[in-house]
């Protein structure tokens, strides 16, 4: 017996004790009908080969360990970015339990969302009654100022019509006629969570700008000097939106952040649970139609939203999740051009500090090879940053990236001498990445928490940047955008590089001559 009250052993120590090891070995041998260890070893080695990679890349139907989620997750993420807004997902209830858990595991925050709890009878007769009851209950219980509706794949497959359902619900008195219930169809079998972000954002703007589903006059745009900002689906939304506000304020630009969930995903522990906190006010959401321009930080999160906004007469500009010096330069210069305001010295200073940091450290990053996976825009932003550090983003993979995205990544490679041996992989998953890491090894892997399986299997050290990050805490509180964000990303990468050097040089009398104090 190894457990003790004095020093309580956790799972990772407890089961390494001899009693448990013996027990587990017996279990395997006697009852699991295990494979021959030599055969397991043979297959394990085979799975590292170019031959396996070829078979792996020939897959047409099976997806293994994808790096994408489904549309409604993005819709829920958008909804909570508006003042006192309750996300309402029409369809099966289990989905909502999943979105809430997923977001809570990443942000370590509550995630409020309701479902219309459709079951078999709704599958047969449609979910109208679920919508009628659901809106009434949610409205009475949670006192939202707005309920933003999206759909699970169940409701989409049976063809429920949100517009008609919401209209009927209002007629039946579920919510007052003038109560805001924007909606978006978000089928899980189209696109990914970034598509859901796009659809939900467009749905909310459409609601406020274009006559609230035929119940109000369309807004007449009276152009003003404001700039709208859309962040896109972003695991760093808390840190990033605050950094973006800082940049707008430094520049003296009036702005509206559309879908500002930076506060609802960062509430204090002070004795009060805030179901709603911060967010774009409904008034601001409506008035955003008058803005001079809208900037999207993530092109692939706003593929439908930006054209919709452009059709209302605004200039629209999109970026690919800019990280680092050039990316942030382009962002602030676009702000300056659109607003007519000069970039203040304070931002030039911030920029100079980031360049200073890169100059101090780039020798350690220069020439290193990286594999990156994540959402399409994040991949583009990180690949560009690595190239400006003199590093090589050797493998760039997005499960939810398409051919057009791949062309953009290729263009980024082509524009840099360090991009010569880099390749892009649209629509591939992390099992493909596994083959890439075995057959064309790199120095570091950048990805979300699930990259730790690749780190374990291939030995490629993982730098956690992306969504979700479940197994490290509080990363979402620090920006990766702006010059400050670039510094954070730089330090995150450097920390891993230095830790790796130390880890590889710490055997006394063998490798410790490189175990340097000064670097």
């Amino acid at each position: 017996m190894t457990q003790s009250a004095e020093h309580v052993l956790d799972h990772f120590e407890l089961f390494r004790g001899p009693e448990y090891q013996q027990m587990l070995a017996n279990k395997k041998k006697m009852f699991e009908n295990p494979r021959d260890p030599a055969e397991v070893e043979r297959i394990r080695e085979w799975a590292k080969t170019p031959e396996y990679r070829e078979k792996n890349f020939a897959r047409e139907a099976l997806t293994v360990n994808p790096a994408k989620a489904c549309q409604p997750l993005g819709a829920v993420f958008v909804a909570v970015g508006f003042e006192s807004t309750l996300p309402f997902v029409h369809g099966s209830q289990g989905c909502v339990a999943y979105y809430r858990s997923h977001l809570s595991r990443h942000f370590k925050e509550p995630s409020s969302c309701v479902s219309s709890s459709m079951t078999e009878d709704a599958a047969v007769f449609g979910g109208l009654n679920n919508m009628i009851d659901g809106l009434a209950n949610a409205y009475n219980m949670y006192k939202p100022k707005m309920i933003a509706v999206s759909t699970t794949c169940m409701a989409e497959v049976i063809g429920d019509d949100l517009n008609a359902f919401i209209k009927t619900s209002k007629e039946k008195g579920s919510v007052p006629a003038e109560f805001d219930v924007p909606f978006a169809h978000t089928p899980a079998f189209v696109g990914s969570h970034v598509t859901g972000y796009d659809n939900a954002m467009k749905g909310i703007l459409d609601h406020f700008w274009d006559g609230k589903a035929g119940t109000a006059p369309k807004l007449e745009r009276v152009p003003n000097e404001k700039i709208n900002f859309i962040g896109g689906f972003d695991g760093y939304t808390v840190g990033n939106l605050r950094e973006v506000k800082h940049i707008f304020e430094e520049m003296g630009i009036e702005y509206t952040i559309l879908g500002d969930n930076s506060n609802v995903f960062d509430t204090p522990t002070d004795g009060e649970f805030r179901m709603y906190e911060g967010g774009t006010t409904l008034e601001d959401a409506a008035n955003a139609v008058h803005a001079k321009a809208t900037i999207s930080m993530q092109h692939y999160c706003t593929e439908k939203t930006l054209p919709f906004i452009a059709n209302h007469g605004q200039e629209v500009v999109s970026f690919h999740h800019p990280v680092g010096v050039s990316g942030t330069d382009a962002f602030v210069m676009a702000l300056s051009r659109i607003s007519g305001k000069e970039i203040p010295e304070s931002l030039a200073l911030e920029r100079g500090r980031l360049v200073d940091a890169i100059a101090d450290s780039s020798a350690h990053i220069h020439g290193k090879k990286f594999a990156i996976y994540g959402d399409p825009d994040l991949c583009l932003g990180l690949a560009s940053f690595l190239l400006e550090l003199g590093a090589e983003p050797t493998h760039v993979l997005a499960t939810n990236g398409n051919k057009e995205w791949a062309e953009r990544v290729q263009a980024v490679f082509d524009a840099s001498p360090f991009g010569k041996n880099c390749h892009v992989y649209p629509g591939k998953d992390l099992w493909h990445m596994r083959s890439l890491l075995f057959t064309e090894p790199v120095d570091f892997l950048i990805g979300n928490t699930y990259g730790k399986y690749l780190e374990r299997d291939t030995g490629t050290p993982l730098i956690r940047i992306g969504f979700p990050i479940f197994d490290r805490h509080h990363k979402h509180r620090y920006p990766v955008w702006g010059y400050q964000g670039g510094l954070n990303v730089l330090v995150t990468i450097l920390d891993k590089i230095f830790d790796e050097i130390d880890r590889n040089t710490n055997v006394p009398a063998k490798s410790d001559y490189s175990f340097d104090i000064i670097r």
Partner: protein, 500 residues
């Protein structure tokens, strides 16, 4: 923080009844009527908890429940380690449940073991329109090619499968034949079926019956020599290693565990279970179905047990031993005696720090009742409890063996109700899930996740109890709770913004 300890049972009952009446006021009339049936104050001596259960959740109320897919893939099938479980449908379900349940296992992941991987058919619009059967067949071929050491495949249906009329049974049969009788199990666990995870458990149990047991050749020789002491652990998902810290006790008392369902389990173990002399059942809710089936078909008795906390563990070891001869009965006493000093030390260390503290629970299958004894071993009191997806037989067990007079009972609690109850009852600890954790911590209430053990565990068995006690102590007595209010501000009262 406890306000209730100074109150009499009568006062508590009155307070709780008032509280129920108060939360019901927020609902529209029809909903209030329906929810009223799920809320009650327990009266001792009653045969159940006086609540309706296993009924559809009400739209829009923020139920905590999941779906049938979660019950099948997430709970029953997912932990079977040497089989590949295809999340069949769009990408989300498999993605959100990917490695989220901490079903520990030993194996070479990706080669002969697949638990923490996400295999999905990633349905696209064309699959919805034209059907996914051909894609499913191709997926099985690709699995066979790339993961040749898998011992079987299951198809975990997501919502669209049942709606578009796919015939996953036909695909499974065809492919099974093609691969020499390989075990391929179609599971009809579409998320819209039933009212919660619970039907998913049942469907998954039935799938084992129909596609594993019924496919076994009657004359198949056992892979091991049967013994008189063979038992199977049923309904332990090895969260944080729970099944391991349970198994070790059964083996120490002289039994031989021939199968684990389903934490760290394998197809061979499922197949061997009909040879067991006794099935010991931990999570009654999720696996009573297969236990009853094995009793009927193979004559294997089953015995519920509870490995949370020394009192219930000792009771359970003796109960299990009662099915066997003196050798095993003596073994049970030996095991109880062996661990007594550890238990004494754990209780001596933690009970003084936890004595009199109150707990409110809201969890899934067995825990809303099973963990009560463990809290009581530490001198704590469970003052409110409820189940996500219980049936009436769970509430009967709860009433007859676990809860005290006056306990607040809430079935399929809504977000609003739970917040309101905790705000008013002010327990010292809430034990529930990830969706609830941060709500209560914001309110300044210590919290432990009682699904995932808050990334700790095991909590089962004697070794697990030491961890349980330590974890409850560090939740309740963490210095952080003294800092929730700024020193220049008044003492905060938990507030419910949404209710204002």
């Amino acid at each position: 923080m406890s306000v209730i300890e100074k109150q009499s049972v009568a006062e508590i009952k009155a307070r709780n009844k008032e509280l129920i009446a108060e939360v019901l006021k927020v609902y529209p009339e029809k909903t209030a009527k329906r929810r009223a049936k799920h809320l009650n104050v327990h009266e001792s001596g009653k045969s159940d908890c006086g609540v309706k259960s296993n009924i559809k959740s009400i739209p829009g109320v923020m139920t905590i429940r999941g779906c049938a897919y979660a019950g099948s893939k997430g709970v029953v099938w997912g932990p079977i380690k040497d089989m590949i479980h295809i999340s069949h449908g769009p990408v989300g379900c498999g993605q959100y449940s990917w490695a989220a349940r901490r079903n520990y296992y030993i194996g070479t992941t990706g080669i002969d073991t697949f638990v923490t991987m996400q295999f999905t058919s990633d349905f696209q619009e064309k699959d919805i329109v034209f059907g996914g059967d051909k894609k499913l067949a191709k997926i099985m071929d690709e699995i066979q090619e790339l993961f040749p050491l898998n011992n079987g495949i299951t198809v975990q249906s997501e919502c669209p499968i049942g709606l578009i009329g796919d015939d996953i049974e036909a695909v499974s049969k065809t492919k099974s034949k093609e691969y020499d009788g390989k075990t391929i199990v179609p599971v009809r666990c579409e998320g819209f079926r039933g009212v919660s995870q619970s039907l998913g458990h049942h469907i998954a149990n039935d799938a084992i019956r129909d596609w594993v047991f019924d496919k076994l050749p009657a004359d198949a020789a056992p892979r091991f020599e049967p013994s008189d002491y063979d038992v199977a652990i049923i309904g332990d998902y090895n969260i944080g290693g729970d099944a391991w810290s349970s198994r070790i006790l059964l083996e120490e008392m002289g039994l031989r565990v021939i199968a684990q369902w389903s934490g760290d389990g394998s197809l061979a173990e499922l197949e061997a279970t009909p040879k067991a002399k006794l099935n010991v059942l931990h999570c009654y809710r999720s696996m009573n179905y297969i236990s009853r089936h094995m009793e009927e078909k193979f004559g294997i008795p089953w015995c519920e047990y509870n490995f949370f906390g020394p009192s219930k563990i000792a009771e359970s070891l003796r109960k299990i031993a009662s099915y066997f001869d003196d050798k095993i009965k003596e073994g049970a006493e030996r095991v109880i005696a062996k661990y007594q000093p550890l238990m004494d030390a754990v209780i001596a260390k933690y009970r003084p720090r936890l004595e009199g503290k109150t707990v409110m629970l809201f969890v899934g299958g067995l825990r809303p009742r099973h963990v009560i004894g463990a809290y009581e071993d530490l001198g704590m009191e469970v003052v409110g409890t409820g189940y996500e997806f219980a049936h009436n037989d769970d509430y009967q067990r709860t009433a007859q063996h676990y809860v005290k007079d006056g306990t607040l009972i809430y079935d399929d609690v809504t977000g609003y109700e739970f917040e309101k109850f905790v705000e008013k009852v002010q327990p010292d600890l809430v034990g529930s899930g990830i969706k609830e954790k941060y709500v209560f911590q914001k309110m300044g209430v210590p919290f432990r996740q009682m699904h995932s053990w808050d990334y700790s565990g095991p909590y089962h068995g004697y070794d697990g109890f030491a961890i349980f006690a330590r974890d409850m102590d560090m939740a309740i007595n963490s210095p952080v709770w003294k800092m929730t209010k700024a020193p220049w501000k008044q003492a905060p009262k938990p507030l419910l913004q949404a209710a204002e």
